[in-house]
Symmetry: C2
C-alpha cells in the first residue's frame, strides 16, 4: 500500500524528503507473467505524474506491436496537445537500432543491442527522461552483448532524478545488488499449460 | 512472449479459436509489488483492444486516488470523444458503496464489501464489462466478508466472454484452483527496507 512506512530509518545523512525523492532502480524478474505489464503500468503512473517516459524494448521481433505502445504513444500525443501528463518516447529495437535473433547473424544482434545501450547511456547522461523502461534488457546482459559492470556503474552514477525499470528473466546478481526494488514474478498456473494460446487484449 | 505456443493440446472438443477466445480468470497474488500495477497494465491493454473496462477497488481508503484511475478514466473519456479504445468504469469502495477499516465499524465494512460483490455479480450476469479488475478483492474473501464458494461459482458460471482479474495477497486455494492464470509476486528487495518512503509517480 502507498502509505506504508519504512521499517528502518537509515543513518545516511539525508532528510526524509531527499530520501523520498531518490531515483530508483527497479527490476522485475522471474519466470512468471507481469514483468513487462507491471513496468508499463508504472510508466502509466509516471506519465500521470508528468514524467518524461522513455521506453526501450529489447524485443525479439520488431513486427510485434503491443497494445501498451499504442496507448502510451497516444498519451504522449495527448501531452503534446493538452499538456496533460508527460511526453512518451518509445523505441523498439527492430525499428531503427533493431535486432532479432531470427534474422541476421548473432554478431549483428549483439552490435545492435550494444548500440541501443550506448544510446540509453547518452540519454542518461543528458537526463533525457524521468522514467526509463528497459524492457527485456536482462537478455542482452545475459548473452554478454552488453557489459553488466558497465550497466551497473552507469546506473549507479546516473545524474539527477531518473528512475530506471529493467525487466526480464535471469537478472544478473550484480544488477539485483544495485537495484532498489526487485520483484520476482513466479508462474503458478498459466493457460498455455492447458493448451490455450494467447489472445488479444490479454497477451498483447 | 506473446507468440508462445501451448505445451499441450487438450482433448476438450474445442477449436483452437474457441480455446483462444475463452474468457480468463487471472489472479495476481503474493507479498511482492506489482500485483495491482500489472492488473492496471492489463486494463490498459484491454482498453486498446476495445474492451469495456470495469475496475472495482476494494481499497482501504477512498481518499487515496492512484494515478492509474486518472489515466484510465481519461482514456475512457477519450473513448467517448473519439471512439478509440473502450469505455472505462472505475469504482472505488469508499465513494458510494465504500468501506474502510479505519472509519465505521467492522460490520459496516463487511456489509459494504458484500454489497460491492453483489453489484459485481449483477454486472457479470448482464455482461456489463469485457474485463473486470477486482483490486485487492482477496482481502474481503479472506476476512469472510464475501463467501469464497459464491465467488468461485459465480466466476465459473459467468456468461459470455468476460475476463476477470483479482489481486491481493493470500488468495484462497479455491480461487487459485478456479483460475486460469496465477502469478505470484515475491518481494526480493524493497526501498522501504532501506528506510525510503513511497514517492509520486512510483508508488501512486
Amino acid at each position: 500500500m502507498p502509505k506504508g512506512q519504512p521499517t528502518v530509518v537509515p543513518d545516511d545523512g539525508l532528510t526524509t524528503r531527499q530520501r523520498r525523492n531518490r531515483p530508483l532502480i527497479i527490476v522485475h524478474t522471474g519466470p512468471g507473467k507481469g514483468k513487462s505489464t507491471a513496468a508499463f503500468g508504472l510508466a502509466l503512473r509516471g506519465w500521470n505524474a508528468g514524467f518524461r517516459i522513455g521506453v526501450f524494448q529489447f524485443v525479439k521481433s520488431a513486427k510485434w506491436r503491443i497494445g501498451e505502445q499504442t496507448v502510451l504513444e497516444r498519451l504522449g500525443a495527448l501531452h503534446a496537445e493538452t499538456g496533460e501528463g508527460g511526453p512518451v518516447d518509445w523505441h523498439k529495437m527492430g525499428s531503427g537500432w533493431s535486432w532479432s535473433r531470427k534474422g541476421g547473424t548473432e554478431d549483428d544482434h549483439a552490435a545492435a543491442a550494444a548500440e541501443g545501450w550506448e544510446e540509453i547511456k547518452r540519454r542518461l547522461a543528458t537526463e533525457a527522461h524521468d522514467l526509463y523502461v528497459l524492457d527485456e534488457f536482462t537478455y542482452p546482459m545475459k548473452w554478454g552483448w552488453v557489459d553488466v559492470d558497465d550497466v551497473v556503474e552507469t546506473l549507479q552514477n546516473r545524474p539527477g532524478r531518473q528512475h530506471v525499470i529493467i525487466t526480464g528473466r535471469d537478472a544478473d546478481p550484480r544488477l539485483l545488488e544495485a537495484a532498489d526494488l526487485v520483484t520476482e514474478m513466479t508462474k503458478i498456473k498459466h493457460p498455455m499449460d492447458a493448451g490455450q494460446k494467447g489472445q488479444r487484449g490479454i497477451e498483447w
